[in-house]
Point group: C2
Chain length 80, copies 2
Amino acid sequence: MIKARVTVTLKNGVLDPQGKAIEGALGSLGFEGVNQVRQGKVFDLEVETLDRAKAEEEIKAMCEKLLANTVIENYSISLS
Amino acid sequence: MIKARVTVTLKNGVLDPQGKAIEGALGSLGFEGVNQVRQGKVFDLEVETLDRAKAEEEIKAMCEKLLANTVIENYSISLS
């Protein structure tokens, strides 16, 4: 069994209104000098295999098919 | 200027219906042996300071006040 973490973030240049809202909210709370807030997603999962190469390949396929919208998002996979 | 990534994940024992839905969807797509899918959030941000200790302290305060619901979520901060 291999544990993995997939991090999905918006590509550069893609507008992130949610990130902007958080930036505004942080400013309202008195946190100054905070810029470039971007929100992304993280998925923790377990794959029932002991073959790390196979696991990574399978998770990459999951990202392409479901977890990330590769038109506007990047993803990175880290196995633990 | 310091770049940081904040990762917010649900605490153990907190139900994650979104993660369960993703697990089901992965199964429907033919990915077998995928378990314990949990979804979290990631925030990338820049803080206008060069003092890493101060930046970390400030981001910790942001997590406590806005970015994470510490009743049900854990957060981790990594500076780059």
